[in-house]
């Protein structure tokens, strides 16, 4: 018998602190697998966010440097400009990227910084206990929208990937999910492609991951996966939002 699946080398032998069934854990493994497949572990630098993934540096066997809340793209910009031969990725939640980090993310994309962003959309502020995020769905309850989010009081869910895709500097933007084997396989391909675009100096790439947060959604992990399919993807459809290289 041949071993056909094991823990990727770039994922350290350290148990995750994430809750049972959390999408962060799956996404971490996919990033590590992509790094292994591309053979870039010795020249990749990751940037963890403030949020549940704040200690992501404990899990990857690569160089990592923590950024203040929302500033991942600013830190990545500086890093990539000083060390252009490194593969730089910023890992950010929806609160981190689409609320406090709006300006940094928007302008890094507009400048076409040659960096890769992993945008983990779990429709809440996970770490701080489930407050409304820019991506919280209409009607979704959170600790700051107990009766459910309303457009009148809270605005509509922000489609940040679509916004970034309108900017000339963004070359590749795709939305994926990690709630089923098929979606996980697609997400992995997208992450690898984003890294490859950076290796080819093409510009700003971003992969949004719809990521289950069973704890704050107050669901079982299996139900959370179904909720992504049945509810979340209706607001945030999966697929390639922009791929400049695909056209020609």
């Amino acid at each position: 018998m041949k071993k056909v699946f094991s823990r990727p080398r770039t994922l350290k032998d350290v148990p995750f602190h994430y809750c049972s069934g959390c999408g962060h854990s799956i996404t971490h493994r996919l990033i590590a697998e992509a790094i292994d497949e591309l053979g870039i572990a010795d020249r990749t630098i990751g940037i963890p966010p403030a949020g549940c993934a704040v200690i992501a540096y404990n899990y990857f066997d690569i160089d990592m440097l923590e950024a203040p809340h929302g500033r991942g793209c600013a830190v990545a910009t500086g890093m990539k400009r000083v060390l252009p031969d490194r593969i730089i990725f910023s890992y950010q939640g929806d609160g981190d990227l689409a609320a406090i980090g709006t300006a940094e993310t928007f302008h890094a994309a507009n400048r076409g910084e040659n960096i890769t962003v992993l945008f983990i959309n779990n429709a809440v502020y996970g770490m701080t206990g489930g407050q409304m995020a820019p991506t919280t769905l209409l009607g979704q309850t959170s600790t700051t929208t107990p009766p459910g989010r309303t457009a009148v009081l809270d605005g509509h869910p922000v489609h940040f990937s679509e916004v970034l895709a309108t900017l000339a500097g963004a070359v590749y933007v795709e939305r994926c999910a990690v709630n089923s084997p098929a979606n996980i396989a697609r997400a992995k391909r997208a992450i690898r492609k984003a890294f490859q675009y950076q290796m080819q100096d093409r510009g700003f790439s971003l992969v949004e991951i719809l990521s289950q947060c069973p704890t704050n959604w107050k669901m079982r992990p299996t139900d959370a996966c179904r909720w992504v399919d049945e509810v979340m993807t209706k607001e945030f459809p999966l697929g390639v939002i922009k791929d400049l290289q695909a056209k020609g």
Partner: protein, 88 residues
């Protein structure tokens, strides 16, 4: 004895695989009982248990009765990267 045979005889007689097409190993200390693998396995090879691990979860168990085809769907969905898969 080869590696395959060692696997085979590592099971109690009752649980020995009939055909060794695929095989998984679950790191039961890493398992957080999310049951995503139970749902992913099309052949019902993984079942919940009442055992306890050090974290206080009830880790799932591989039934190893020869129905595993090594498709790795269980390992693909496992958030803890707790599953390793072998295939013929």
């Amino acid at each position: 004895m080869g590696k395959e045979a060692l696997f085979f005889f590592s099971f109690p007689r009752r649980e020995r695989p009939r055909v060794l097409k695929g095989f998984i190993e679950i790191n039961r200390e890493l398992c957080k009982e999310c049951l995503l693998c139970v749902e992913a396995c099309k052949r019902d090879n993984i079942v919940p248990s009442t055992d306890l691990n050090a974290k206080g979860y009830h880790p799932v168990r591989f039934t190893a009765d020869g129905r595993c085809n090594g498709c790795a769907l269980c390992a693909t969905v496992c958030p803890e990267a707790a599953i390793e898969v072998w295939r013929e």
